[in-house]
């Protein structure tokens, strides 16, 4: 498939998705939008800038604008994610058509509608875009830049940001000095352990209140429904307001860092998506996570659909994968 045809088909899919999303884009704010977006000055006074500086900055740039503009920006980020999914599929050696399958699933599956339609879900959209960008454009400096973006985006994205920064630093230095890379990794692990120890009582209380199995099963069910949403209801609409501590999930999933040093491309993206899910699953205070919390993991489910498309033999033998 020629690049121009690929881009043209993707634009057609975005246009189709835009038509589907028009009622949500034209709508007023909903639920917590009034608290965080509609009354931005108060949210900033309440210290929201400390927990999520980049996210609040993006809202601040649009302060005072009508609701449809916030929704339009969210849809724009969603469309960007579909392009990054297409690029990631190509980067992993899948065919151009498979990349379009990933983009189409992302743009048209209703499993992503809450993230695209809810102005307050912008943080999860941006986090998903960062994960996909790391998969689509691998490299030390990309990881470091995206990782810092995630660290500054919002509290629940911090474990993924930490992993991405570490991967960037380790891959940069590992080419020059393995000893330095190992020392740096050990230093970060030690500092995370120290942070966990200092907060052990509050973390234990949060862990005791959580119902991780319920939350995990709901998320797995939702991800399974990404390609076939008509088979069952998506996860709970009930939007939770848990404020999870991020250190413990980060520690639990630090072994993934070992995989990250080797940098198998899909493995890193999966690890990042897991880290974005972990705070919601482990420390959700008994509430189920909402649909937009699984956006990044859902994007990887869309990429899995692309892999299935190629694995099922749909690849035209005349098509040559990007990195073949």
């Amino acid at each position: 498939m020629a690049p121009r045809a690929l881009t043209g088909t993707w634009i057609g899919l975005v246009a189709l998705s835009l038509v589907a999303y028009l009622p949500a884009i034209a709508a007023d704010f909903v639920y917590e939008d009034f608290r965080w977006v509609g009354e931005l000055d108060h949210a900033l006074e309440q210290g929201q800038l400390r927990g999520r500086p980049l996210l609040m900055l993006s809202y601040w740039l649009q302060a005072g604008r009508p609701a449809w503009e916030f929704h339009a920006v969210n849809f724009g980020i969603h469309a960007l994610c579909s392009w990054l999914a297409l690029r990631a599929a190509r980067c992993w050696g899948l065919s151009p058509q498979a990349g379009l399958v990933a983009a189409a699933v992302l743009l048209l599956s209703p499993a992503f509608s809450q993230a695209a339609a809810y102005a307050s879900a912008r943080g999860e959209l941006v986090a998903g875009a960062a994960v996909l960008a790391a998969a689509a454009y691998p490299g030390s400096w990309t990881y470091i830049a995206l990782g810092w973006g995630l660290l500054l985006l919002k509290d629940s994205a911090m474990p993924a940001g930490l992993l991405l920064v570490l991967c960037g630093v380790v891959t940069y230095f590992s080419r020059r000095s393995r000893a330095l890379a190992v020392s740096l990794t050990a230093l970060v692990i030690a500092s995370v352990l120290g942070a966990v120890w200092s907060r052990r009582e509050s973390l234990a209380a949060a862990f005791a209140a959580a119902d991780p199995l319920d939350a995990l099963s709901a998320m797995v069910r939702h991800l399974a429904l990404v390609p076939a949403p008509w088979l069952g209801p998506t996860i709970d609409f009930d939007i939770v307001t848990a404020s999870p501590a991020w250190v413990l999930p980060g520690l639990l999933l630090l072994p993934v860092l070992v995989v990250g040093i080797a940098l198998p491309r899909a493995g890193l993206a999966c690890a990042l998506a897991l880290l974005l899910l972990a705070p919601r699953a482990l420390l959700s205070s008994g509430d189920l996570p909402a649909e937009h919390h699984v956006y990044a993991a859902g994007a990887l489910a869309a990429l899995a659909c692309a892999w299935v498309y190629d694995a099922a033999g749909a690849l035209d033998p005349r098509e040559v994968p990007l990195n073949a």
């Binding site: 189709l16 998705s17 038509v19 589907a20 999303y21 028009l22 009622p23 949500a24 884009i25 034209a26 709508a27 007023d28 909903v30 639920y31 009034f34 608290r35 009354e39 108060h42 058509q97 399958v101 189409a104 699933v105 048209l108 599956s109 209703p110 509608s113 809450q114 339609a117 809810y118 390609p227 949403p229 008509w230 209801p233 709970d236 609409f237 009930d238 749909a314 035209d316």
Partner: protein, 137 residues
């Protein structure tokens, strides 16, 4: 690409488009959104509280809002704990406001005084205002 695969992909595209358009319509109307949320999780009080608020906000349908607040309180009592506390706060406060808007100012004042007396510490004015329906524009 085989004919069967093309038909399957086109069918998937059409079905997904229809479902997503349906969800977007739901997100375009707050009352429809919380009604769908209530149907997805009938035992949860939070969708019911928000459904009541959306009813008051949309058509100033205070009778319908009062009905949903009552249902929310029933659901919260069945679950207890923090959910009951949060739901009771929202529902009782908004029911008092509805009472005043429906003209029963004396009853609303009496209930509000009892509401405040039952709580040793009260939330900030801004936080309370953000919980009130219909929304201030």
């Amino acid at each position: 690409m085989g004919l069967v695969l093309r038909i399957a992909i086109l069918t998937w595209l059409a079905a997904s488009f229809a479902l997503t358009a349906g969800r977007a319509r739901v997100w375009g109307d707050e009352y429809a959104l919380w009604l769908a949320a209530h149907r997805a999780a009938p035992a949860k009080p939070r969708p019911l509280v928000n459904l009541a608020g959306a009813a008051a906000n949309r058509d100033y349908d205070f009778a319908l809002a009062r009905y949903w607040y009552g249902r929310a309180l029933d659901a919260a009592r069945a679950r207890g704990g923090a959910e009951l506390e949060e739901t009771a706060f929202l529902a009782e406060l908004n029911l008092i406001l509805l009472q005043a808007r429906l003209g029963d100012l004396a009853g609303a004042r009496r209930d509000f005084e009892a509401f405040v007396a039952a709580r040793p510490f009260f939330r900030s004015e801004h936080e309370v205002r953000s919980m009130l329906w219909p929304r201030e524009r």
